[in-house]
Amino acid sequence: MHQGWFPVERCHRVAADVVELSVHAPALARSAQPGQFIGLGVGGEAFALLRRPMGVSAIRGERLAVSFRVAGAGTRWLAARRPGDPVDLLGPLGRGFPDLGEDPVILVGGGVGVARLLPVAERARGEVMALVGFRRGGQVFGIERIRRAGGVVRVATEDGSEGRRGVVTELLEEAIAEGRPGRVLASGPRALLRAVKGICVGRRRPALLALEGQMACGWGVCLGCSTGGLLVCRDGPVFEAEAVEL
């Protein structure tokens, strides 16, 4: 765990409502693992004390990125950072995805949650199938990065404007029915994780879920994110599906 101010390299929109903030932060980037998160301090109009916990969405040498939906004054302030601006980071925090070696994986992502799966796809040494779901076509992001990394991507949108009309769990049901091998790694809204857990536990398919939690600290002391005796920040945010109450 490190804390410090690091310069922004790039801050740009990757979809209608998702911003990717890339930072030159060698100390954090060298130790960060996919699935871990960073606490970002915010300033300006937000006048905020608490950090924003955000999943790592890229790890490249001395640089790492987080991606987020602009939801309030804090994320608006972060989205307005320009190259060279310093940002206050704490991390890497939590336990990320384990190294799966050359095993195949099925990634299941919903909305901005897709961002946390991108570094998994880029580091995987086995076959990757990524199933990603969004509400509308304009929100779709990340699929080019997965394809460049050699992954197969299937997209579902609720309005049918891109990929299949429907939800991402339908894609998961199909992939499993097709006999697609591999552990399932999922990231997205709680309802999506609950559905993935239901599908995987029923079929004895091992699954890892990347949770989000409301927290004040991110390092295991405030107990704001306690769920069934486990802390999302310290014991997670990645949990075995059977181990976590959703």
Partner: protein
């Protein structure tokens, strides 16, 4: 971050006979039992542990935390594994470190407070107890005792019967007359008072039309409460003869000095630890740097220097 213990030479003090290498504690509930703290705990004067009850408490439903300008609200509900696991699994981790260990004690009844103190008193690693009669986030006990001088005194008297170790009492700002509560607990045998606990507060989400915290109301902490805390320390320190440990929104050494000048012999850093895990060490380092700059061999002469201590 690297800080050598030897860097503290000018800011040591003594509270209840406990020698502190510097006057900075990590406040209860903001550093656990030190198990996740990313630096050598021996750099702190001491730690006040997470509130400990006789049996495990599950705490409140989520959401338990919410943000406010310059602070936060919490309604954790004192989730903790209970005194037996605290003694068996958490206190031993503190044995390797050289700092004062003050166990924060919570209960729903007088007897629950007494049971925790009686059970943990023989632990060699426990230097003192901080009796928490001020948590706003539990339905029984806690604040109910801390608002009433007689009830608070009764808790202290019950604990006094079962330990010879120092009893510190954590006071609430959610009362009309904190001085009366402080005087009550001192008469009942308290060796020091610590203040302030969180200030009752609430947020409501206009979209859902419901309270933001699942528990409805919670405790406000962070820089937002600091002037309230400084004022209370000032009032209480002038009224009682026991040491006062000040806390409430301390982020920097300058903030800590406000409390010391108001009458605090030692201070605790709380909410700032959540934002910066190194915050308490930085405050301790900053106090040492201040003493050096000012040519002071001790901060004791500054304690209460902002006002006459007793008429």
């Amino acid at each position: 971050m690297s800080v050598q213990r030897a860097t503290f030479g000018r800011v040591g003090t003594v509270v209840s006979g406990i020698a502190l290498k510097n006057p900075v504690f990590a406040a209860a509930g903001t550093a656990g039992f030190g198990e996740s703290v990313p630096y050598d705990l021996s750099l702190l004067g001491g730690i006040m542990t997470k509130g400990t009850s006789p049996d495990p408490w599950r705490g409140n439903p989520l959401p338990r935390v919410a943000e406010v300008p310059a602070g936060m609200l919490n309604a954790i509900g004192l989730e903790n594994p209970g005194m037996e696991r605290v003694a068996a699994e958490l206190l031993p981790g503190l044995a390797r470190h050289d700092l004062a260990v003050v166990v924060n004690v919570v209960g729903r009844t007088l007897d629950e407070y007494r049971r925790v103190v009686a059970y943990l008193s023989p632990c060699p690693r426990v230097d003192a107890f901080e009796i928490n009669v001020s948590c706003p986030n539990v339905s029984e006990g806690g604040l109910a005792f801390g608002r009433d001088p007689a009830a608070a005194a009764a808790v202290v008297a019950a604990c006094r019967d079962v330990t010879a170790k120092p009893l510190w009492v954590k006071l609430t700002p959610n009362t009309l007359d904190p001085v009366a509560v402080a005087e009550g607990v001192v008469r009942a045998g308290a060796d020091a008072v610590t203040l302030i606990n969180t200030v009752l507060g609430m947020r409501i989400d206009p979209r859902t039309r419901r309270p933001v915290l699942a528990a409805g109301v919670g405790g406000l902490s962070g820089p937002a409460v600091r002037p309230v805390a400084v004022r209370m320390v000032y009032e209480v320190a002038r009224a009682v003869d026991v040491p006062v440990i000040g806390m409430g929104g301390i982020v920097t050494a300058e903030d800590a000095l406000e409390f010391i000048l108001a009458g605090a012999r030692a201070v605790a850093v709380g909410t700032a630890n959540l934002v910066d895990p190194w915050a308490a060490v930085k405050v301790a380092q900053g106090l040492e740097a201040f003493a050096r700059r000012e040519g002071l061999d001790s901060l004791d002469a500054l304690v209460g220097a902002a006002g006459s201590r007793r008429p």
